[in-house]
Amino acid sequence: MDFRLSEEQEMLVATVRRFVDEEIMPHEEMVERTDQVPPELRQHILQKSVEAGLCAAGMPVELGGGGLDSMGLVLMYRELGRANMALQYAVPRPSNILQACVGEQREKYLYPCITGEKIDCLAMTEPDAGSDVRSMNCRAERNGDNWVINGTKHFISHAELSDFVILFAATGVDQTARGPRKRITSFLIDMDAPGLVRRDGYHSVSHRGYHNNILEFTDCVVPHSQVLGDVDKGFDVANDWLGATRLEVAASCLGRCDRALELAAEYAAQRRQFNQTIGSFQGVSFKLADMEVQRRAAELLLYDAAMKDVEGRMTDMDAAIAKLYCTEALAFISDEALQIHGGMGLMSDLPLERIWRDHRVERIWEGTSEVQRLIISRSILRPLEQGN
């Protein structure tokens, strides 16, 4: 097997790296300090990303996107991942699921997202339905040609910037041998729809400047034409289009592994104590060795999943393994990198403090580490349990 990058991939990496260094890194400290990305700056980065062709890079060329396959996207998010999440998000990355849009939905939602004119957000999680997302209470009831939606979603990322939300709501219940099972439907809902209130969310330890919101639906009426995919088939749409999102999370974690390791190695080679560089103490240098091993393993697992995805043979387990390993490798690497920096590592004057804080959410969103393990272990056990 050969993971050498192609010429195109090398050029893509060079372009994104330079983009991050020139357009994003210079603003990082300000965003970390103020917890805000000024709208003019967001607009500027958006404009630059359009020029560099990085806007909606994962959408097919036929739709006006960048046409990157999963491997290309992983390389791009690895480079973007080195930087602050809020600033990265100024490079439009509409959810893949919008490709399920049909007819007028495409004009209204898909195309404007690809050009960066509109921003989407996606709402599944509720206060009482996190990992067990199918247990959601938010419901939509059919009323003639309309649907009436009631319920609350929380932790909805960047909803404050969004023009519309891709909402998942329960539209019925099936009685199965294992108990009641909710049917879920996906909807496209404009943020200014009557009956939808967007409230401030919670303050997270991770990703300053990148906020989440609470969305409250009270008798929010939307026409039937706002259903994305088929009624009761919301999770099918999600499974078709959202599996690879885990690879993006994994890739951005790998990018931060790169940065943390780079900083730690430089520091270990320069910082002197007891008349020698701290890197010459085995206690420090072996940390670097273990960090590098984890980074390599993370890279291999991620590239393996991405290449399988390109060939259309990535399994749920492949994506889960990549997401689990890359996010946990970042936990280890950012913590050790901080340790190597001693007290200075904790100070917000250095980027490590932020990388260390930011890593924490990665093991929770897009399915917690436990949920990924659940997927992996089920994939191992299920074939053996059949017939028992």
């Binding site: 195109e8 050029m11 372009t15 062709g53 990085l54 046409g67």
Partner: protein, 250 residues
């Protein structure tokens, strides 16, 4: 109008290079390589000429082993239309490069040839000048501005005393200085298109050029490490040390 740009593969500007242990050369094993920054400025200038409608075609040429095709592809991704690689493993000196480029010019008949003023590896600053002499063309080196109008290139040069402006009759050779422009990113669509653009491969034999070098590299060694400085206590002590220890003043 056709513009030819020469691009060189060099160690990336951000890499800290080392000498090989046996002192025979710089160690380029596993070193990140890139297009020479001055050559990148040359490509950018050519692409801008094309975008402004002054030039119709931009041809990027690189000379070296197969790996330099990467830098040609990068040039194509920046907007050049086609590439030419002159394939050779030989250790090339500026004169050999100039002769090869002259042979390419004879085939291509470009109206303008843009090169970097020097490459950041050996910093010779010779190829453009040699090429102009061999080809009998006007030259404008260290350009910080190039304006093309009716068969002429007005080139503003950064010289020691300030700025000098030359009016060159085309075809002409221009070498770029840092302030000529700021190269763009290779955009994703152009990266994707680069693979489909044509690239010809020529050899020195086909071009009838003998690339044998008259120079031999004797030794490559890192500069001596600087030893720590000292802080002197008075001007008198400083003058004394400069006089009697460093012997730089008398």
């Amino acid at each position: 109008m056709k513009v030819l740009v020469a691009v060189k593969r060099v160690a990336d500007a951000n890499v800290k290079v080392r000498a090989k242990a046996d002192g025979t050369d710089v160690d380029l094993n596993n070193v990140k390589m890139a297009i020479n920054p001055f050559c990148e400025i040359a490509v950018e200038e050519a692409v801008r000429l094309k975008e402004s409608g002054v030039a119709e075609e931009v041809v990027a040429v690189s000379i070296g082993d197969k790996s330099c095709q990467e830098q040609i592809r990068t040039s194509l991704a920046l907007g050049a239309d086609r590439g030419i690689q002159v394939e050779t493993d030989a250790n090339l000196q500026p004169l050999a490069i100039a002769k090869l480029l002259k042979a390419v010019i004879d085939r291509e008949s470009p109206d303008l040839i843009i090169l970097g003023k020097q490459s950041i590896d050996s910093d010779n600053n010779q190829t453009g000048q040699m090429l102009a002499a061999l080809a009998g063309l006007a030259q404008g080196t260290f350009a910080s501005e190039v304006v093309l109008e009716d068969g002429h290139a007005r080139v503003t040069r950064e010289v020691d005393g300030g700025l000098q402006t030359l009016n060159l009759k085309l075809p002409a050779v221009v070498t770029t200085d840092l302030r000529l422009n700021e190269p763009r990113y290779a955009s994703l669509p152009n990266i994707m298109k680069a693979k489909k653009k044509p690239m010809d491969v020529l050899t020195p034999e086909e071009l009838g050029v003998d690339v044998a070098s008259k120079l031999t590299m004797v030794k490559v060694e890192p500069p001596a490490e600087r030893s720590a400085g000292i802080i002197v206590e008075s001007v008198e002590q400083l003058v004394d040390k400069l006089k009697n220890e460093a012997k730089v003043i008398s």
